[in-house]
Symmetry: C2
Subunit: 368 residues, 2 copies
């Protein structure tokens, strides 16, 4: 694995020196992990002209799923009084004669940036912007394999829940049970706060579970994901509770299903992000649900659960192969509930069979 | 409750105008909640000369334990394309003729600060610093009551776990079970990631549960907390597994117990933070464990699990009455394990009976 991290750092340094900075300081944890193999609490990564240095506030975590720092990296552990690693790294850089540094201005606070300036007043500071985030968009097969395993775990946890009695249980308990099952099946943990919505809460994006209990006739929507070796996937499904769904439930489900399928089918290398979004959004728009649709109908996943690309009407850019994204349109009718269907897929060329579906739980409307 | 929030905002505005700024923009979520009653995802609070405004990216969450925005506040929900609430708030302020604004530089990123500048180039920006955090240090009885309920819930969850069979179960499963029990007993959720350490992992501060299983003869250390109406408490205990602890275990336990008791007894109004720390640290120091002790032996708790004050050797300041803090010394022997004992207490005058212990689970060395 060491070569993978070294190659990533090399690519970043090339971008960086093209931008006029000899060194870069990476502070956003997911970016540190991407380039260093691990991101111990508070650690920052200093990429220098000759040497790369991981500056930590304590010894790296030894839990395997937190990753291990690349052995090719020098690790500097600050003493208790060592203060902010950002400031310490800037001090180390100037001690070695460094004169320019690109930092992640979208992650560093104004106060830390000022502290950095005051410890190294002659350092020329630049903005690294989202350079690491851009590198992270296209995944290698090792990364995709972690996402695939995470998706299998989420599918298993969801499948087991569906076999149990649901009526009378609260959203919060169902969510906790799902999270326990994720860990049982080998996840590092949930990829994000598990969402379980029943009745009027169903179909709401990011709904946080309440004490409402599942009732006959409810829509039940569930959105969960597993983290596996740091990589986060997402699956969302909507079910109906009882023997036969009402007509409005079938209609709404069919509509969202069609929208989600259109989105999935638009996932080809070279497709504009906004066209994927439009494919999923169009059916819902023309059925009169334009108001209240979420800003995005999908997004990238990886070391964070929401990464680039953003699949929305204003997004700029085109899909590449090996980019994992979600496709997750939904409709929520205030007071009644709604439907969301959410998959994680990897963009693949048609010659390779088209988009690879990672979350394979059925999308038929199940009556539970 | 509305008067409470209004009074807090008034105190902050007084500090703010003493610093020369007519308005303040609060972005740190716990600070927003403290002043507004709720902190919907991404919301910021603009405190103006005449009107206060909560700027949100979506309608406020309706889960009761997320709090409700103070009804005296005007709430502005941005449309989907409304962008960053920080930038939107600055725009609203200048539209109304505002010319100075204090922001939380320890929370705002450099990139957001720059975006704010570019939308309102004539606005005089100042640093609010930790003004809200300082207001939050001394709690009112309503806040303490939330902490007290949270501590009861954590005590219950821990007590139930101790009645179950432990040998053979993994740290991760024990931690998940504790978190489930917290929610069962009415917590909003865990106050932080539950820590369960067995054998060589016992006694490590912030240890993240692994797949190691509990064995006969192990130390088992557990640290958990409940969030109740946003307020977070903390309890930590160490047990021994099996019928009789080894001599070294009894010795180490007695030592940490004495250190923790000394820390608790030092909690009187007017005591210097560093003297409380020294009280707890001294016994461990003189027993030869000075190396490897944590930076802090305790800290404030409230809407966040680590708040001011910091009880450490370099801390400046003195305790007030009605400040809830943890006292949590511990010793970890690499390869062998260790002991941590952690309580949440409220500083009270001696006339009122001295420090109020919120976490009442026994601190005898139990053999389970």
């Amino acid at each position: 694995m060491s070569e993978v991290y070294a190659a990533r750092r090399k690519r970043l340094k090339e971008r960086c020196s093209a931008g006029g900075s000899a060194s870069a300081l990476i502070s956003r944890p997911a970016n540190v992990r991407y380039l260093a193999g691990a991101a111990p609490q508070g650690a920052v990564l200093l990429l220098g002209a000759d040497e790369d240095l991981l500056v930590c506030t304590g010894p790296p975590d030894d839990r395997p799923h937190e990753g291990r720092p690349d052995e090719a990296l020098k690790v500097q552990v600050l003493s208790h009084s060592g203060g902010d690693p950002v400031v310490a790294a800037a001090g180390l850089l100037t001690d070695r004669g460094g004169d320019s540094l690109a930092v992640e201005e979208h992650h560093l606070t104004v106060a830390r940036h000022r502290a950095l300036r005051s410890v190294a007043p002659r350092l020329r500071l630049a903005d690294l912007g989202g350079a690491v985030e851009q590198l992270r968009v296209v995944k290698d097969e090792e990364e995709i394999s972690c996402l695939r395993i995470g998706a299998e775990i989420a599918d298993q946890a969801l499948g087991e829940l569906l076999e149990s009695i649901l009526v009378g249980r609260t959203e919060r308990h169902l969510a906790l049970e799902l999270e326990r099952r994720l860990v049982d099946h080998g996840a590092d943990g949930p990829a994000f706060v598990t969402s379980v919505g029943t009745g009027p809460n169903s179909g709401r994006r990011g709904h946080r579970p309440t004490d409402r209990r599942v009732e006959e006739g409810d829509f039940l929507s569930v959105c969960l994901g597993a983290t596996y070796r740091g990589y986060r996937c997402e699956i969302g499904r909507t079910f109906v509770i009882g023997t036969s769904p009402a007509d409005w439930q079938i209609e709404l489900y069919d509509l969202v299903f069609a929208a989600q399928r259109a989105g999935r089918e638009a996932l080809v290398p070279g497709a504009a992000y906004r066209d994927v979004d439009r494919a999923a959004r169009q059916a819902l728009d023309s059925a009169g649900y334009a108001e209240g649709l979420p800003v995005l109908t999908g997004h990238g996943v990886g070391l964070e659960i929401e990464e680039d690309p953003q699949l929305g009407p204003a997004a700029m850019g085109k899909l590449d192969a090996c980019v994992p994204v979600t496709v997750e349109p939904g409709v929520h009718l205030p007071g009644r509930g709604g439907v969301r269907i959410d998959d994680t897929l990897v963009v693949r060329p048609e010659a390779d069979g088209g988009p690879e579906l990672l979350t394979i739980t059925t999308k038929e409307l199940l009556a539970l």
